[in-house]
């Protein structure tokens, strides 16, 4: 039963056929890996290596600081050449460790060995997930073990595996479901055991019929598991919208899914949990869909964390023609990069290269109050009024009009005929409100 459920949303041209039929391709070890320490929301981990340290694959190179933090591991064996500031796909330059692989790709003692997970206690599973450095792989990068630790007064009765992949161009999750359905479900099973949840729904958009079939096949005997195909609309995969579509429960504004008894995990995270718990392999690689009209050969690359965009792009045939934008993530919410020196992190779901002539340009004309933005906003906001307030620097009014509830999905700017960079306006307002709150104490 396919449903959409939520109000709003847009239907961009998806262009997934550029990469949806391409099997996952393992990228050979590049000459250097620039592994960022900050790969999670929350506190950045603390480096435990220094220049010159020799590391093995899977060895801890940064340890978690506090509860909301995730450790980082070496993606291969080699030597730490330097620790310095490097471009980060999500923002300003951040500290990273440059590892020169020794080519042996040797695992650390104790890693990469199969173990029986049948008897594991929930706490033990969570501990292994934490030690594996798992973060949400849908892009948010929230430490998974924290997500799996809801407080006592928020019981969870539904686990949702997010296989929607609603962003245009991206096919990483699609391929993962096709090629590793069992592993994903094993991981989901681990999550369910940690949470004590009986019901698990795998949500997949209808534009991936083969993935739906593959997951249905793998789910067959598992009790409590079901696969739900969903109507294709962006942002179907956004947490709150997804939960509403599946269960008609509304996550309160300012709240979290656990407030309505639901937990959502990306299918990539589930697979990483399977790898970490069953095989003692920490998270150090992921599938990155490299696609777009400006890349030589689109691929679904299995890349190590730390691989530079430069190396990946070269692996995929190099830049074709006049590139306008290099986007980390999907084109609706991803971050346009200014340099190929930046590198893959645990949350990099794709690299989309768009040619200069197909990039829309923001113009920031006056708002003509056409109302299209109000029609498409999945959070029920009024982007038109918000942008007018923000232009006039009335940030408090923007706050009253709920700018902090914006999920920055980009639907409003996608349809704006005046080509206003609405999401940028809202990010500005949110920053101002945060600053004000900080100053106020």
């Amino acid at each position: 039963m396919a449903r959409k459920g939520f109000f709003g949303g847009v239907h961009p041209i998806y262009n997934k056929e550029l990469a949806s039929d391409l099997a996952i391709e393992v990228m050979p070890l590049p000459e250097k890996l620039v592994v960022h320490f900050t790969q999670n929301l929350g506190a950045p981990p603390e480096p435990v290596v220094e220049k010159g340290s020799e590391v093995k694959k899977g060895q801890l190179i940064a340890k978690a600081t506090g509860f909301v933090s995730a450790p980082v591991h070496a993606p291969t064996s080699g030597v730490i050449k330097s620790i310095d500031l490097y471009p980060h796909p999500v923002g300003t330059d951040m500290p990273a460790a440059v590892i020169i692989p020794d080519g042996k790709d040797e695992w650390l003692e104790g890693c990469d060995m199969e173990r029986d997970t049948g008897d594991l206690e929930p706490e033990a599973i969570k501990q292994m997930i934490h030690e594996g450095g798992l973060v949400g792989m849908g892009g948010a990068s929230f430490p998974t073990h924290v997500k799996l630790s809801p407080p006592e007064d928020k019981p969870i009765d539904l686990l949702v595996l997010n296989g929607a992949e609603c962003e245009p161009y991206l096919t990483a999750d699609h391929r993962l479901m096709l090629e590793h359905a069992e592993g994903i479900l094993e991981g989901a099973d681990l999550f369910a055991r940690v949470l004590g949840v009986q019901r698990v729904i795998v949500a997949i958009e209808k534009n991936k019929p083969d993935a739906i079939e593959a997951m249905r096949g793998a789910v067959r005997e598992r009790k409590g598991f079901s696969v739900e195909p969903l109507d294709v609309v962006y942002p179907q995969g956004a947490e709150k919208q997804l939960i509403f579509t599946l269960s008609r429960r509304r996550v309160p504004a300012g709240g979290l899914p656990m407030d309505v008894g639901v937990l959502v995990q990306n299918i990539g995270t589930a697979f990483a949990a399977y790898e970490a718990v069953r095989f003692a392999r920490p998270l150090l690689q992921r599938i990155v869909t490299v696609t777009g009209s400006a890349i030589g050969q689109p691929k679904n690359v299995l890349a190590r964390v730390g691989a530079t965009f430069e190396d990946i792009v070269r692996f995929c045939g190099g830049i074709k023609g006049d590139t306008g934008k290099v986007i980390s993530g999907g084109p609706m919410m991803g971050v346009a990069q200014y340099s190929l020196d930046t590198s893959v992190t645990k949350g990099t779901s794709g690299i989309v290269l768009l040619a200069r002539d197909e990039i829309p340009q923001f113009v920031n004309d006056a708002c003509i109050r056409c109302g299209r933005c109000v029609t498409v906003c999945p959070m029920g906001l009024n982007p038109s009024a918000l942008s007018i307030f923000i232009e006039r620097m009335q940030f408090d009014d923007a706050g009253e009009y709920n700018v902090n509830d914006c999920i920055e999905c980009g639907c409003c700017a996608y349809v704006c005929p005046s080509k206003r960079p609405l999401v940028q306006h809202f990010r500005r307002a949110k920053a101002e409100l945060r600053n004000k709150q900080r100053k106020a104490g």
């Binding site: 923002g91 300003t92 346009a336 200014y338 340099s339 340009q361 923001f362 920031n364 960079p421 940028q424 306006h425 990010r427 500005r428 920053a431 101002e432």
Partner: protein, 280 residues
């Protein structure tokens, strides 16, 4: 017709009496000096004094809650006038401070890392990797400071660099708060030697991204009188309490030190291209 006239006339009379009564009963004690002080103030309502407008400041001065020279825009002249009104003596002469953009990196000398497409405002542009300038301390040139200046004292050079006209600047400090990079500082009006850079990056990096950035070679520190120029994490900083002779500008290998701001003369005796309205 007569009835109409009488009716209206009586209504008018009633209303007039009512107003007169109200004016007496609800009268507010107004200090007559307040209006005079308000007249003396510039009347721009720029907020530099920290209060919401000239009327409020006038009130406070009359009440004795604010100093006669509380208005930085009015300066000494206005302070004198106000002092006369309230019968005090103003002992004049705090130095006038003007704003200065401590960056010389327009597009002819400083590198931009990408083409920025978005809101034409510096505070919004910094959301994207801190702005398109390679130097993270550099002026982005999107006119946010020029936009908030109530006196039109900030010009943009053709290559995207903000410059304050010290003659028009009144020292209201609104631009200082508006700049997201925090590179606009208040300097004494009389001082003419300035180091136009705010970068704390190491010299090697600065050389790659800006032709007029401070590379911390410290030649100016040695050349200038003891302690008048000090280093603050790879950046030379002038102590305006001391005097720095103009010749010091000549030793800077990067032409970071200037002696005339709007005229853009970099060294004494050597005229650089003069911007509009600058003195040669």
């Amino acid at each position: 017709m007569i009835t109409a006239v009488i009716a209206l006339a009586s209504l008018a009379l009633l209303a007039g009496l009512g107003l007169a009564l109200a004016a007496r009963v609800f009268a507010v004690e107004v200090d007559p000096r307040v209006e005079a002080i308000e007249e003396a103030l510039p009347g721009v309502n720029c907020g530099a004094c920290g209060l919401p407008g000239c009327a409020e400041l006038a009130k406070r001065i009359a009440e004795g809650k604010a100093e006669v020279d509380a208005c930085p825009v009015g300066g000494d002249g206005v302070a004198h006038s106000i002092a006369e009104i309230i019968g005090r003596v103003f002992e004049g002469g705090g130095a006038k401070n003007v704003a200065l953009v401590l960056c010389g990196g327009d597009d002819s000398v400083a590198v931009r890392r990408f083409y920025y497409n978005g809101i034409y405002d510096c505070n919004s542009a910094v959301l994207l990797f801190g702005g398109d300038k390679a130097c993270s301390y550099g002026c982005l040139g999107l006119e946010t400071c020029a936009g908030v200046c109530p006196f039109g004292a900030i010009d943009m050079l053709p290559g995207g660099l903000a410059v304050v006209d010290p003659e028009k600047c009144t020292g209201c400090t609104k631009c200082v708060a508006a700049c997201p990079k925090g590179i606009i500082k208040m300097v004494p009006y009389e001082k003419k030697v300035h180091i136009l850079c705010s970068s704390h990056d190491k010299g090697g990096r600065v050389r790659k991204i800006c032709k007029v950035g401070c590379i911390a070679c410290q030649r100016c520190v040695k050349e200038a009188p003891e302690g008048s120029i000090t280093m603050d994490e790879n950046l030379a900083v002038i102590d305006y309490a001391k005097d720095v002779p103009e010749e010091v500008a000549g030793v800077c290998p990067m032409n970071t030190i200037v002696t005339q701001v709007l005229g853009r003369e970099k060294r004494t005796g050597e005229a650089a291209p003069v911007a509009a309205g600058g003195e040669a």
